[in-house]
Amino acid sequence: MAKIAIDPLTRIEGHLRIEAQIEGGKVVDAWSSSTMWRGIELIVKNRDPREVWALLSRI
């Protein structure tokens, strides 16, 4: 029984970590984690609603 981790996962937009549990050459379980967070949901709170598109389009 082995566990592998691929981090960073390249050729994607953003930061991603993939972990997989392997038994007998087969993946039996897997986990993905997004390893970066900016809190844009909190940043747009209480802002002028008209300008929120400009922040959220840069996600």
């Binding site: 960073p8 996962l9 390249t10 050729r11 953003g14 970066m36 900016r38 844009i40 909190l42 008209r50």
Partner: protein, 357 residues
């Protein structure tokens, strides 16, 4: 491949000598240099080794990467970026996981003090830096190691330059710029949301030609790109001076291309060369497309400049031409009144003298 000069790589890709020299002239113009330096630029690009470059992404949206990858003008500029020895760039590199980490570690180890680090995205400092981790390392640890050992670091985009959107209030992750995170590193800031590819190319060309980074302002921005105010180079400036403003989206003034100041344009407080080099092959830029500038290249623009649709207070000179005309009319009226008073006084004096007689 590694030790070849930039031009030898370009010629393999079918770039003619003429195209190459045209590119050198464009770069000289972008840098605000005289045409006499064109041979110097050409010589540097022909003879010097391609620089080793690593591109790090932290709290980013890959917008700056997109800006570079999708640029088409000048085409050679794209190739310049293509043919620098780009050893690490998560979005476009082939290796993943441990092999990717090895590519980065090899450059830092084998070319210490000689490579250029390009950083996209801010660096979170709160809670031990847990909000951005790559290969199990925090962004702050990576930045200290990679930028700290680089010849120079180019911070591309407003997040790497100033903290950008992640650092906007309430800054949930304690995001900071590269210079704030690694104060001892040599950092040049190329803010903008995203960075303009031509400014990045020109910065690299300047470095290759003169062996030094271009002259910067107090915000660490190169003067060739950020030395002039958008408002002063804006094609709608005559409408500002004439007091011709868009008052509502889609109104008559908007259709006629009048000034967007009343609609919240931040051009009067923004320094960048957007009006002259523009975007998308020099096709357009926000104000030309009919939307105000929102000061994306200014420090903390999301909080310091107010909502992107709120009018900047107290910008002097709005409609000064019409004001001048009004004052002129007033002066003329006053002069006419003065003449009339003088005439009346004189007339009454004359009358009084006549009466004496």
């Amino acid at each position: 491949m590694q030790d070849e000069s930039l031009f030898s790589d370009l010629s393999k890709r079918g770039i003619s000598r003429r195209d190459f020299l045209t590119f050198c002239s464009t770069m000289a113009a972008t840098l605000g240099l005289q045409s006499t330096v064109v041979p110097q630029i050409a010589e540097a690009l022909e003879k010097k080794q391609k620089p080793y470059v690593v591109w790090l992404e932290f709290q980013d949206c890959a917008g700056d990467s997109e800006s570079i990858l999708r640029s088409t003008k000048p085409t050679i500029a794209q190739l310049v970026l293509d043919v620098i020895s780009l050893e690490y760039h998560e979005t476009i590199m082939a290796p993943s996981g441990k092999n990717a980490e090895k590519s980065l570690a090899d450059v830092v180890k084998n070319h210490k003090g000689k490579y250029i680090a390009i950083v996209e995205g801010s660096i979170p400092m709160k809670d031990g830096g847990v909000y951005c981790c790559i290969g199990g390392k925090t962004a702050i640890d990576m930045a200290k190691e990679v930028c700290g050992n680089a010849l120079a670091t180019i911070a591309v985009g407003s997040c790497a330059s100033y903290g950008g959107i992640p650092a906007a209030a309430p800054n949930p992750t304690g995001a900071v710029s590269v210079k704030q995170a690694v104060p001892n590193a040599t950092v040049i800031n190329l803010p903008g949301c995203p960075v303009n590819c031509e400014n990045l190319t020109a910065t690299v060309v300047h470095y290759l030609t003169f062996g030094a980074l271009p002259q910067c302002d107090k915000e660490g921005r190169p003067l060739f790109a950020y030395g002039k105010r958008i408002h002063d180079n804006c094609e709608r400036r005559p409408h500002f001076d004439a007091g011709q403003f868009v008052r509502k989206w889609g109104d008559d003034g908007h259709r006629k291309g009048w000034c967007l100041y009343e609609m919240g344009c931040k051009g009067p407080q923004s320094y960048m060369n957007c009006p002259t080099i523009r975007w998308n092959e020099g096709t357009s830029w926000p104000v030309m497309a009919g939307h105000g500038c929102f000061g994306c290249g200014q420090p903390q623009n999301w909080d310091a400049l107010g909502s992107i649709y709120s009018r900047l207070p107290n910008v002097p000179g709005a409609g000064y031409q019409t004001t001048a005309d009004k004052i002129g009319l007033g002066v003329a009226a006053a002069a006419a009144a003065g003449v009339a008073v003088h005439a009346a006084v004189r007339a009454s004096k004359c009358k009084a003298e006549e009466d004496k007689k």
